[in-house]
């Protein structure tokens, strides 16, 4: 089975392991991911902060290319890219004037008939039905499922039932044999795009998240957003300085955690690419009882 795929810039750079693990899990379950040809950046927070029309046109170019390619569905694993593509599609479909203007900007036709899938929707639709036969191991650890902002909000785009206390990620982790913990910071912001421009604020916000996960005894934090990952993983030295505390909980992408339960090797899932060592999460794994 084939599903369209929009990687976004982070999955080619700082979050290669997210892409790697998504491909590894999909391949295991017999799903082929077809990349949108010549896709471009979604514009991220820079575009919507500085130029409204650009923030709609940039994602629209990629969506129009996906239409041209004949893709009816695309999975967008990056939460930030998903938010921008979905917001652009919604704005264009709700307003004819925006549609006409955007078509002129991108010089392509736009029908908006491509269905956009978050990573949860993709897992639920394509991986869940067959996952049980491939899950051979049990993660056997307490996980803090961290959604951040853009997987939970705004709810008309993310389509989650409960944006204040979503449970979609917990369902995936239970399937992988982990015990999701109940905690207070699962939909709080990590500081997102301030990673470089206001690292101090990222350390403060991400520090609170990490501290709560640690106090509640999490063995690992599970994320599904490259920005959340880089703020909690790459920015750990800054967080430690802020908290004046050494917290060494590893941060795994949801597809890495699921892949581990499927017996896929740590290297294939890109676990060696993290800054906070992931050995602690891997060492908990046990064979699943028959």
């Amino acid at each position: 089975m084939k599903v369209g795929f929009y990687p976004g810039c982070s999955l080619e750079g700082s979050s290669k392991e997210y892409s790697k693990s998504l491909f590894a899990v999909s391949e295991k379950c017999g799903i082929t991911l077809e990349e949108i040809k010549d896709w471009s950046c979604c514009g991220a927070s820079a575009a919507h902060s500085l130029n409204h029309d650009l923030s709609i046109a940039l994602p629209a170019r990629t969506l129009a290319l996906a239409e041209k390619q004949g893709l009816s569905e695309i999975v967008i694993p990056c939460a930030a890219c998903y938010g921008r593509l979905a917001a652009s599609q919604q704005a264009i479909l709700n307003d004819k004037a925006i549609l006409e203007k955007t078509e002129k900007y991108i010089d392509m036709a736009f029908t908006g008939n491509v269905q956009l899938l978050t990573v949860f929707e993709f897992l639920q639709k394509y991986i869940f039905p067959v996952a049980d036969q491939y899950i051979v191991d049990k993660l056997n650890q307490k996980t803090a499922c961290y959604y951040g902002c853009l997987l939970a909000r705004p709810k008309d785009l993310t389509k989650l039932e409960r944006p204040e206390n979503p449970m979609e990620m917990e369902k995936v982790m239970e399937k992988a044999g982990a015990t999701p913990i109940d905690w207070a910071f699962k939909t709080e912001c990590c500081g997102a795009g301030f990673s470089m421009s206001r690292t101090d604020l990222v350390a403060k916000l991400s520090g609170r998240i990490l501290e709560d996960a640690a106090e509640r005894g999490a063995d690992s934090i599970i994320v599904a957003c490259p920005m959340c990952h880089s703020n909690l993983d790459l920015r750990r030295p800054e967080i430690k300085k802020q908290l004046k505390k050494d917290i060494n909980i590893p941060v795994l992408f949801i597809t890495q955690a699921l892949g581990l339960s499927m017996g896929i090797s740590a290297k294939e899932l890109g676990l060696d690419k993290h800054f906070v060592p992931t050995g602690k999460a891997v060492s908990c794994i046990v064979k699943k009882e028959a």
């Binding site: 700082s14 130029n51 409204h52 170019r61 301030f194």
Partner: protein, 216 residues
């Protein structure tokens, strides 16, 4: 009977006065120049600021409220009241740049006021009118470096973005120690990856800036 008539007369006068008052208020809004910051914002974002009844949930949930000079609910209050000088105060505030667009405010707002889009509008207006708060310079430089990188390459390359940002802010030391380990983990691509049709990207940027020039 007489008392009743007097009461009725009073009631009628009061009603007339009320109506008069309402008309006066209404007229004052109508006669205000249609290009105030508030009216442009309402038209552009599709938000009606009077919908906010100041419950304060936005500020309570905002992850950066303690760092903001004007709290989220106050931003809306200032737009509602339109007191003299409010435009400059809002456009030169740090708050509009600190908003992370996490949408906690919008998702908890009982009146569904899209505050993150209000912030977007105010940021753009602040740049246009050259009123950006000096403390927000680095944040703006980052956004600009980001857009320049994708205009030239079609997609982001972290090395390019970082160098461009450093040139803009002259903040040369920050994060230098992270580069080697990121490189060895294969997370940095020193050669910028580009989309095949880079020209298309440049044209999108060009058409938008031409259109904006026409709008003014």
């Amino acid at each position: 009977m007489i008392i009743c008539s007097i009461q009725l007369i009073f009631f009628c006068i009061k009603r007339q006065l009320n109506r008069f008052n309402i008309e006066i208020v209404h007229e004052s809004i109508e006669t205000k120049p249609g290009n105030s910051l508030k009216s442009r914002l309402e038209e552009s974002v599709g938000v009606i600021v009077s919908h906010c009844y100041q419950c304060g949930k936005c500020t309570a949930g905002c992850p950066l409220n303690e760092d903001m000079d004007i709290k989220p609910n106050q931003v809306l209050r200032m737009l509602q009241a339109e007191l003299p000088g409010y435009e400059d105060k809002l456009l030169s505030s740090l708050s509009i740049w600190l908003c992370l667009a996490c949408d906690t405010c919008y998702s908890r707002c009982p009146q569904e006021v899209k505050l993150s889009q209000v912030m977007d509008f105010l940021r753009q207006e602040s740049v246009r009118q050259n009123k950006v708060n000096p403390k927000a310079k680095d944040i703006l430089s980052f956004h600009k470096a980001f857009l320049e990188t994708i205009e030239k390459n079609g997609k982001l390359n972290e090395v390019w973005l970082t160098l461009n940002y450093k040139l803009k802010t002259l903040n040369m030391i920050q994060d230098v120690q992270k580069a080697p380990s990121m490189f060895f983990k294969g997370k940095l691509n020193p050669i910028p990856s580009r989309i095949q049709h880079v020209k298309e990207m440049e044209k999108i940027f060009q058409r938008i800036s031409e259109n904006e020039g026409g709008d003014k």
